[in-house]
């Protein structure tokens, strides 16, 4: 399958959507529940932690020019262990896509398509992901960039139109449940930005793998800003006790917009922003999982794997019987422990490289 190349902005659009799309769902309420009114800056702490981990990944990429993170795993820890690390990344990306898709399905079912079976919603979503994955990273990157400008515009329109409900006093107490609690949760919930590993997975699709650095930092900053703005708007729009109950607070916020007779119906704009952003983000994560799997088993033709992954994600998405299980167990566990799956392969590879390979590499380079 022809992979093609994508530009830096295209990659940033992919990563920002992959990171920020989960802010449209239950994560917002979960953050407010954990840290209270401090949620909007807690996410910045999470972004900062992710930047630290990304810096380690970038060190590896810089030291192994022209290689993606999966090839670097092979080189630093050996072929077999590298395969295991690639499979860990594959698994966590697959789970992340599956769980976010389930959140999306339930939110769509509750707010938009009340009588449609979840299987149909998931099926249509996966069909679109499969078609676009078959086009390769080039098509996906271009699509992400094409739609991201429209989505950003829509997002800003929605945010600006929602200003009427914003009351700054709702941000108090500024420290939420306390600074210590905010920092602790900020560190633990850094898995919300775990999709940044895609910058390493797709590094070879860039014109120069060294560009992955600036792409990663910019994506984290932009993704963090989007999530922080959403959290800020939701916390300032709803009293604390309401905000923790809303499964899709942004949708509710948008549906309450009232600016005369014509501007009181902006849900349509939001539906497109919500759906398209999730489609781009989850397709990128899904494609990243396929890349990891194909690398682990040295498979060159991704198309049959895309189809089998599509069937697998359909099953895993629907296997959870109810929305309450998703909200109470699945999503909190992914957010609290997801960092193990996202970041541990990077830590292992970095430690092996730093303590055992770096000096040898420097010696070879000098001679």
């Amino acid at each position: 399958m022809d992979e093609g190349k994508i530009g830096n902005i295209e990659m940033i659009c992919l990563l920002v959507n992959a990171i920020a799309c989960k802010a449209f769902f239950t994560s917002i309420a979960a953050v407010v529940e954990k840290v209270g009114t401090a949620g909007w800056y807690m996410t910045m702490i999470s972004a900062a932690v992710s930047m630290g981990v990304f810096s380690l990944m970038y060190m590896l990429i810089k030291a192994h020019s022209g290689k993606n993170i999966l090839e670097i795993y092979d080189e630093t820890v050996g072929k077999k262990a590298g395969k295991a690390l690639a499979l860990i990344s594959c698994l966590i990306l697959f789970l992340s896509a599956s769980i976010t898709l389930r959140e999306f399905t339930d939110a769509t079912n509750v707010y938009l398509l009340h009588e449609t079976p979840p299987g149909f919603i998931v099926g249509m979503f996966i069909l679109a992901m499969t078609v676009v994955c078959c086009l390769g990273i080039e098509g996906l990157g271009r699509l992400a960039k094409l739609l991201s400008y429209i989505l950003l515009f829509n997002f800003l329109v929605v945010m600006i139109l929602s200003y009427q409900r914003i009351e700054i006093y709702r941000l108090y107490p500024l420290l939420g449940y306390g600074l210590g609690n905010t920092i602790k949760n900020g560190i633990v919930r850094s898995s919300a930005y775990g999709e940044i590993i895609l910058a390493g997975v797709f590094a070879k699709a860039l014109n120069d793998t060294k560009d992955a650095g600036k792409i990663g930092y910019r994506s984290l900053i932009l993704g963090g800003l989007v999530i922080a703005i959403i959290l800020f708007a939701v916390i300032a729009s709803f009293p604390y006790f309401i905000a923790i109950e809303l499964a899709d607070p942004l949708y509710i916020m948008v549906s309450l917009v009232q600016h005369g007779r014509f501007f009181q119906r902006v849900e349509v704009i939001f539906i497109f922003t919500w759906n398209l952003s999730t489609l781009i983000g989850l397709t990128a994560i899904f494609y990243g999982a396929i890349n990891c799997y194909c690398h682990a088993f040295n498979i060159k033709d991704k198309k049959p794997i895309i189809i089998s992954f599509a069937i697998s994600i359909y099953l895993t998405t629907l296997i959870i019987p109810s929305i309450s299980i998703v909200l109470d167990y699945v999503v909190p566990n992914l957010r609290d422990y997801g960092w193990i799956g996202f970041y541990s392969p990077i830590f292992i590879a970095w430690i092996m490289w730093f303590f055992f390979k770096r000096r040898k590499q420097t010696y070879y380079e000098k001679n």
């Binding site: 022809d2 919603i121 249509m124 676009v132 098509g139 271009r142 349509v268 539906i271 033709d301």
Partner: protein, 527 residues
Amino acid sequence: MKMPWDIFIYKERPRKEKFELLETPEDDSNKVNRATEPEKQAYIYSDIKSNLKRIKEDFKIPLNSDVIIRELKVCGYIDAFLVFIDGLTDKKILNEVVLDNLMSGTRGMDYEEDLIDEIADKIINVGIVKKHNLFDEIESMVTNGFCALFIDGHNKCLLLELAKYPKRNIEKPENEKTIRGSKESFVEDLPTNVSMLRRLFKNKNLIVEYMRIGAESNIGCAIMYVNGIINPEIVKEIKKRINKVKSESILGSGMLEQRIEDNKWMIFPQTLNTERPDRAASLLMEGKAIIMVEGSPCVNAVPITFFDLYHTSEDNNLRWYYGSFISLIRLLGVLMAVFLPGFYIALVLYSQEMISSELLASIAGAREGVPFPTIAELTIMEVAFELIREASSRVPGTIGETLGIVGALILGQAAVQAGLVSPILIIVVAASGISSFVIPDYSLSLAIRITRFFFILMGYLAGFYGISIGMFIFFGLMCSMKSFGVPFLAPIAPKLRTSSDIILAKPIDTMKYRPDEANTLKKQKKK
């Protein structure tokens, strides 16, 4: 041997060779032509009887009654014959110049070296005279209006250009009308079309390369491009693709277009079809190649992007304010043509809460008593609209207009009064139908009309969610499409440097760059 269980075993498919337009082109074109392939060469004989026999066999004479063989004697005693096609040659020049000079001008002539050369140099006063010794080549030239002269004892043949045949006069463009632009369009005659373009584009670097397409049809085609501007890889690729066409049934530019496009399964056109010489000239200036096919009043331009199909030749003729305004209206038209019916069905079936109460009451009131579900109502009206449009374009002019009025007004009104459809739906269908007329390119317009049905289906299946899914797939396919190696949505996806008149026009002196996606050799239009 294939076993039944083989269908469950995955086999890797052979990779297709894909054309990619590279940044650093190499100019080593003009290599291969079908006519020069060694296995097809058959040389003419010195013996005139063998040549006559071969020509009669090849042209199926006497079964083929318009191929004329005129036997004569040159120098008073040497056997010779002329082959030409009745109706394709100028008989006046043939009788008064060629035959007269050959029969009386050569009487008693002393020739020192080669008689063929002497006749070409001293006897026949015709503009273009060629010499050939390959039967394939000679027969092809005869079918193009040349007259072939065979002389006994010589293994060369003289080809005299005497082509003259009835052709249509240059007329106003029918499909690409403009207010301020040129009022002439291409015709079916290839040399006339080439001359029209040469007249508009007076540049010594304008290259015209003639080729023949297909296995036996002998249809001529011309590739025109500006040397020094166009990326030579594009010309090379065009020739490669045209040479690969082995079909016997290429009778027009539309057929050739389908044979040489990048992806046959994509809904959007991958070449630009125009009947306007001024449009073709502006495309040449932008570093594109023009492919003209004999017998076709339209020419194809490659490589193209969506924005080439979106713009008209009028856009550059208007001041940038007016051009921008028209372009925005057109954009609105494109969006309405694609999405309006789909949005309507999504709103009515799934998201009624988003319609304001008054409008909702109005829609519900209008739908009261309509026996069909909304999807059936919408599909019937869309299909009826397409029927009216197709019927009015196939019947003679005045009847077509009447049919349009009868279909659109009387039938629509009657359908509403009979309670078969709601008036609001008539408005939706008519608005989307009218919007599709603003799309300047016929192929693009057809693609958008088909896409509309896809979005109706998606809206019906899952409302705005379905439309989002449809948009994702639709734009994804558009982003992955290429025309001769150039991304279809360039310069937006991928973002490239351009004169930034993608949708909105800019003052004419700011538009100094050629489209970056074509990788032209000269990037700037002026220094």
